[in-house]
Amino acid sequence: MRIFREKYGAGPVHLAAILASFAVAAYGLSRALDLASNPDRILLWLGGSIVAHDLVLFPVYAVIGVIAASVMLGRGRPSRLRIAALNHLRFPALASGLLLLIWYPLVAAQGERSFMRVSGLSKDVYLERWLIITAVLFAVSALLFAVRAPWLARER
């Protein structure tokens, strides 16, 4: 048992659990690939979704965040007012970005023809709606900042 632990790095239950999980996952994946007319597209989407998040979406929003922080906070120890200003930009930006991420096919009118065929509706209203929501989010955030600013400026 001690030798197993040394060689493997954990107990035998760990290995059994991993193998059970892999077996079920392999079953699921093989069924998905079996039933698909284009199995390579499933693998592409499976792998592509990791790349799209970890190596595209995350770096993009993280870099934008770092740039925004360095612009807003300046050098040295940032004041509470500057930190608050940064956050009053961060929250509406993240909310707007999240809505765009989830409803991108609506906002960018992707699949307009199939949507029209199933629902009889056009997607042309959504870009405007998203822009209005984004504007309202930033406006409300700015308003709240304006209310808080005098109080934050007093604080050390």
């Binding site: 079920v24 996952a25 998905a32 039933l35 979704s49 989830i102 699949g111």
Partner: protein
């Protein structure tokens, strides 16, 4: 084996003071119930299609082993809003989980670049299972969200991919929960479940990490610009906001006004036919003359023809009016007042005394869901109707004129439109 300490593989590259096992644990505690609701209701939806009956199976045929099905147990017909509730819960919980999932991935992303990448065989296998967990989750959430917006860029059929992708995700998730539960317990014991939420910006300490465990707690944290309650409040608000918005297309009423950025927060049609549809008449390529005055409803048994009825004759039969919801697999529903003839009465008219099933066929020339088979339970329900009118007006063409099926708790795509033939078994 250590990778060169460059870029994200350098431990001090990751500086957010908010990351760490406590944050990951809190986010997981919120994520897990939502994923559980989403998974259970997803499997329930598969059962609601009754894939063992007739040609109902969307993939793999009616045999066993083609997805979750409580064999021998029929999908209930009561309460009538059952499918609206389960499928609404599926789509709402799934969408509400997205901001939490993204926050969770943000919280643990330093571990993607942990260095050395493999400490042991066990550790390497755990990381491999994380590929399945992250890939499977992103795949299932992305395909679901894209599908409900009627965009089909996949190149594979959505239902089996979404279904079995979920099984890949859940296999990895159950393992992940089992392996990480001790770490969650340790993180909550170390910092308390809610204590870090009380810290203001001046007192927001970075997470210390856990002894003997590689965590996402930063070794050289930057000064905080956000409190933990600020971060979690924003994630929670985003999740709740999306849930409320999406529930507008499920529950309707005043909430519908909030469903501005959802696929189906809007009506479709004129006057009393003004409610959402799932397939337009224009899309199905049924010739106009087939839905004109020459339309006949054909009554059959599997072996022979048992007669035909005109729409006038149907309207002359005993009409039943019922307020029933129609609920789409895409997670929207709408309750309307339908008037039509009981399927049971039509069975009698076809001289079938004790029908065990009925196959309802649309005049649609193509498409996978143009016919549906109902169980005995469903077809005998007093509100299982061949509907002719809605809200007192004739059905519009988009809503299935001359006649459509409406049955309590039946998934929307099974409420066949432009019905041409009933086959009683």
């Amino acid at each position: 084996m250590r990778l060169p300490a460059v870029g994200p593989f350098r431990a001090d590259f990751w500086r957010s003071p908010l990351r760490g096992p406590w944050l990951a644990s809190v986010l997981s505690s919120a994520l897990l119930p939502l994923v559980a609701i989403c998974a259970v209701t997803g499997f329930v939806s598969h059962w609601a299609y009754e894939p063992r009956l007739g040609g109902n199976a969307v993939f793999g045929g009616p045999g066993p082993g083609n997805g979750f099905d409580l064999y021998g147990l029929d999908w209930p017909t009561s309460p009538a809003w059952l499918y609206a509730a389960t499928q609404g819960a599926h789509v709402i919980s799934g969408i509400a989980a997205i901001p939490i999932l993204l926050a969770k991935l943000w919280a643990v992303i330093p571990k993607l670049f942990e260095n050395p990448p493999f400490l042991s065989v066990a550790h390497a296998l755990e990381r491999l299972s994380l590929v399945l967990l992250v890939g499977g989750s992103l795949f299932v959430f992305a395909t679901g969200v894209i599908n409900i917006q009627a965009w089909y860029p996949f190149g594979f059929s959505f239902v089996p991919a979404h279904y079995y992708g979920a099984i890949v995700m859940l296999a990895a998730l159950v393992l992940h929960v089992g392996l990480k539960l001790p770490i969650m317990g340790a993180a909550f014991r170390q910092l308390g479940v809610t204590r870090p939420l009380r810290e203001d910006l001046r007192h927001a300490e970075p997470e210390p990490g856990l002894p003997g465990v590689v965590t996402s707690a930063p070794p050289s944290p930057a000064p905080p610009t956000l409190t933990r309650r600020g971060l979690l409040g924003a994630v929670g608000a985003a999740s709740a906001g999306l849930a409320v918005m999406t529930s507008g297309q499920v529950i309707g009423g005043p909430l519908a006004e909030l469903a501005v950025l959802t696929p189906r927060g809007r009506g479709r049609g004129d006057g009393r036919n003004d409610f959402p549809i799932n397939k337009t008449f224009a899309a199905v390529e049924i010739p106009r003359e087939k839905v004109g005055p020459d339309w006949r409803l054909l009554l059959h048994t599997p072996d022979e023809r048992r007669g035909e009825v005109t729409r006038e004759q149907l309207l002359g039969m005993e009409l039943v009016t019922a307020e029933l919801p129609i609920a789409c697999v895409e997670g929207w529903s709408t309750t309307q007042t339908w008037t039509g003839v009981r399927l049971a009465d039509l069975a009698r008219r076809a001289r079938v005394d004790h029908p065990t099933a009925v196959e309802v066929r649309s005049m649609q020339p193509r498409g996978s869901l143009r016919s549906v088979t109902l169980s005995q339970d469903q077809l005998e329900h007093p509100h299982a109707l061949l509907a002719l009118r809605v809200n007192g007006a004739d059905l519009s063409l988009d809503h299935g004129y001359p006649a459509r099926l409406i049955v309590p708790a039946l998934p929307g795509v099974h409420c066949t439109k432009w019905v041409g033939k009933l086959v009683f078994a």
